[in-house]
Structures are given as structure tokens and as C-alpha cells.
């Protein structure tokens, strides 16, 4: 490991020749280059997303620098595919700025209204946690970044409006993160369960089924239970780990954990 010290001794730097000749020459050289093509992008008429800038960006020296593919995973306005949204609430949970509110959209049954994210772009910090968390890939981020409004309320994008963005087919962030390999599962603290069916009812992916569980034999002297006990069983391959079941459980008998 070479660790010789680079000493930039300011005492040793010689004073410039010819007073100011060098900077004048440099500026003149730059002037000559930018006479041909300044590096300005004439914004409302040209845009960086344009195909000609996607392949290369001309900078002033006339030397093309390939910084294309810049836009592939840009994080701009979200696009929401309303049809595939399963109302799992993960985006709202994962939002660090609490700018996502789940609002009811038409299309759900009256018992379980379909809830989709409504995003307030006045609060969103474009971190992309929500689209990373989305298990169905229906909430993605597009390359749109122009969001100037005159009223604060216009910054709130309802699910329908986000769906509108989706339908515009803007370039979308293609990177879908792999789910972690050893995710925790939903475990049941069985003695606490009262079999209320709330978790199975609210599960967005319907991966919880209530199975009849034979209760332990009654102790001597007790009456055998009359009702049939049901307990939730989670299908781990379908589960998106949204935690809805945990939050609706009245007895707090579901929790995260690894299968023993």
C-alpha cells in the first residue's frame, strides 16, 4: 500500500507568468467552445429526458459525455395502478413523512371499502420507500417532476389522479427490489386467540384462512366447549407482510417472528 504523501506546498507553487494571461486565455478558449454549442438546455423546448439527451449530453468542449440512462430510476411523481392495488396499507406505513393517506375509492365491496393511497406532494420527500414497499408493484415512481401549483390544495394527488399519471405511460422506475429472503412471518399466540375472524376478513391478499382447531381436551370437571374454535393460518408464500392482521387483532395475539 503506497502511502507516500502528496505535498502541495503552496510555498513552492511558482507565481503565475504574465500576470493574468492564463485565465484570460482559458476564458477565451471556453468562449470559443461555447460559441459552437453552450451547454445550456433550452428548457421548455428541450428537456433532459428527450431522446437526444438520453444518449449523450453535449458539453461545451464539444466532447460528448454519455450520461444517458440517467432517468431510468428517477424518483418523481408516483403512478398508481388502481386495478392491481390491494389496499395493503404498506405504502402509508413506510412513508417517513406521513404524506400518504389511504382514502376510499369506488370499487370495493361495502364491507371492505377499497382504500388506495392519496399522496400530498407538499410533504412527500420522494424517498421511494413507498414504491419499494409496494408488494404488487402498483405504486411506482415516474420521471415527472414539474409540480408547480398556485394553490396548496392542488398538491394533493388523489388515487384517481395518480391513476391518471399511470395511464400516461411515463417512464417508470424499473428497479423492483427483491423481497428479503428470510422475512419474518406472522405468528400466532394461540392461547390468546378468540377466533374472531378479523384478521382473515381484513387480509388484503386473502392469505389467512380460519381453520378449525381441535381444542385441547377439557380438563376433568370442565364442560367441553360448545363452539368450534377457529384459528388463523397464514399462507407464507402469499403473505405480503403488511401487518394489517396484527393491527386489527383485538387481542394482540398475532406478532412477527420466525417459524421455529
Amino acid at each position: 500500500m503506497a502511502t507516500e504523501e502528496t505535498a502541495v506546498r503552496s510555498g513552492k507553487t511558482e507565481l503565475p507568468l504574465l500576470w493574468v494571461a492564463k485565465p484570460l486565455a482559458t476564458a477565451a478558449r471556453q468562449f470559443g467552445r461555447s460559441l459552437v454549442r453552450p451547454s445550456t438546455i433550452v428548457y421548455p423546448f428541450e428537456r433532459l429526458e428527450d431522446p437526444k439527451f438520453r444518449t449523450e449530453v453535449h458539453v461545451a468542449s464539444g466532447k460528448p459525455i454519455g450520461v444517458g440512462a440517467v432517468w431510468d430510476n428517477y424518483r418523481g411523481v408516483h403512478a398508481l395502478n388502481l386495478e392491481t392495488c390491494i389496499s395493503c396499507n404498506l405504502c402509508a406505513f413506510s412513508c417517513p413523512d406521513i404524506c400518504i393517506e389511504m382514502v376510499t375509492v369506488p370499487g370495493g365491496d361495502p364491507k371492505h371499502p377499497k382504500k388506495c393511497p392519496q399522496i400530498d406532494y407538499g410533504k412527500c420527500s420522494y424517498c421511494g420507500f413507498c414504491s419499494d414497499a409496494c408488494p404488487e408493484g402498483c405504486l411506482t415512481m415516474t420521471t415527472r417532476y414539474e409540480l408547480s401549483v398556485t394553490k396548496r390544495s392542488e398538491m394533493v394527488y388523489s388515487p384517481e389522479r395518480l391513476y391518471g399519471v399511470y395511464k400516461e405511460k411515463l417512464p417508470m422506475n424499473p428497479i423492483r427490489l427483491e423481497r428479503p429472503k428470510n422475512e419474518d412471518s406472522i405468528l400466532l399466540d394461540a392461547p390468546l386467540c378468540i377466533g374472531c375472524n378479523a384478521c382473515a376478513r381484513d387480509c388484503p391478499t386473502n392469505c389467512i384462512t380460519m381453520l378449525d382447531i381441535p381444542k385441547a381436551a377439557p380438563k376433568p370437571g370442565e364442560k367441553p366447549a360448545k363452539r368450534i374454535w377457529k384459528e388463523p393460518v397464514v399462507n407464507d408464500s402469499d403473505c405480503v407482510r403488511c401487518g394489517t392482521c396484527i393491527s386489527v387483532c383485538p387481542k394482540e395475539c398475532l406478532f412477527w417472528g420466525t417459524h421455529p
Binding site: C124, T150, K151
Partner: protein, 206 residues
């Protein structure tokens, strides 16, 4: 003369030898006004009113058709923002004046003194400690002036809005004309906001 009810036409002079009703004293008649006097009176009454009406009409028309468009055109094409960096958005604000985006194309030139500015771009988090200084700066700018809240912190406190020291939105302090969402907005988004403001100014009727 529309709508002016103040025009006073001299009362019609009663006939000189009008038959007085019997049993009543003959009316003391007014002397006849000479023509010249009447005309003077009319002119005194009429011309200022006409002048005023005509003047206001011309002024209105001129303002609608000439002065206001010209002023709005000028105001929209030469927005001088205040050279003031608050936080993260200030870097993108600077980048918008950099070589690649060059906001000077639209005549947007930052000035350091609020006296010479007509656009306050609040580019970052406003804390309570700086709030009154922001208001002072806003008040130091001569009319007409505009405010752009750039980025989420200026719009509503952004990620820091729960904190104890942050103003949740600069619109609590000064009137905001254009909000630009983004954290921070790209320089293009800032230019887009400025163009939106230019459209607003163009349609402005003071």
C-alpha cells in the same frame, strides 16, 4: 356621459308675459339669460364632466389595451429573485442559474439587495428563528412583488414539519403565489414554477 347624473341643464325660463292666474300677484320674472352666459354655464357644467368621463374611458381603455399589457409583459419578463439561500433547495436554485439551465434566459437575475427584487424564492426550511427576518426582507421589497415557495419545506415544513423549530409552511408568514413541490425540486421544476408565475403575471389585472 354614461352614468353621470350631475349634468345640470339650466332650468327652462318661464315665458315672460305669462298670464298670471287671476287674483294672484304677477310673478317676479327672472331676467333673461343671454346666450353667451348659457353657453358658459353649459360649458362649465358639461366640459369637466365630459373630460372626466372621456379621460377615464381612455385611461381604462389604455390601461386595458396598452399600459397593463406592457407593464405585465415587462414585469413577467424581468423577475429579479432575491439572492438568498435557505437550505437544500438553494443548491438547486443555484443550479438553475448554472450553465445547464441558465434561468437568465428568461430574464431572471438574482439580486442581493431586496430593494431591487420583485420575487422572493423561499428555497428551504424556514425556522422560527429566521421567520421575522424573512418577513422583513419581504417587506423591504418594493411592490409589486411575488413569492415562490420552492420545495416542501417552504410549502409545508417538509420532513421537518414535526420539529419544534420549523415553520410549517412559509404561507403562514407571507402570501405565496406559486408552490413548487419537490424535495428539492429539480432546476427544471423551478423554471417551470417561474414560468407559471409569469403566466399569472400576464393575466394580472391590478
Amino acid at each position: 356621459m354614461t352614468g353621470t347624473s350631475t349634468t345640470v341643464v339650466p332650468k327652462p325660463r318661464p315665458p315672460i308675459e305669462a298670464a298670471a292666474p287671476a287674483g294672484e300677484l304677477p310673478m317676479v320674472t327672472q331676467p333673461a339669460l343671454p346666450f353667451f352666459e348659457i353657453e358658459t354655464l353649459r360649458a362649465e357644467q358639461f366640459i369637466p364632466n365630459a373630460k372626466e368621463a372621456l379621460g377615464s374611458m381612455i385611461a381604462e381603455q389604455a390601461q386595458d389595451k396598452l399600459i397593463r399589457p406592457v407593464f405585465n409583459w415587462a414585469g413577467r419578463n424581468s423577475l429579479f429573485p432575491l439572492h438568498w439561500g435557505l437550505a437544500c433547495c438553494a443548491i438547486e436554485f443555484a443550479a438553475a442559474f448554472g450553465a445547464r439551465w441558465d434561468a437568465e434566459r428568461f430574464g431572471v437575475v438574482p439580486r442581493s439587495s431586496p430593494r431591487q427584487c420583485d420575487l422572493l424564492i423561499v428555497n428551504g426550511t424556514v425556522t422560527w428563528k429566521v421567520a421575522h427576518k424573512l418577513i422583513t426582507l419581504y417587506e423591504q421589497m418594493p411592490e409589486p412583488k411575488w413569492v415562490i415557495a420552492m420545495g416542501n419545506c417552504a410549502t409545508g415544513g417538509g420532513p421537518f414539519r414535526t420539529a419544534y423549530s420549523v415553520v410549517p409552511g412559509v404561507d403562514k408568514l407571507v402570501p405565496v403565489d406559486v408552490y413548487i413541490a419537490g424535495c428539492p425540486p429539480r432546476p427544471e421544476a423551478l423554471l417551470d414554477g417561474i414560468l407559471l408565475l409569469e403566466r399569472l403575471i400576464q393575466e394580472r389585472r391590478e
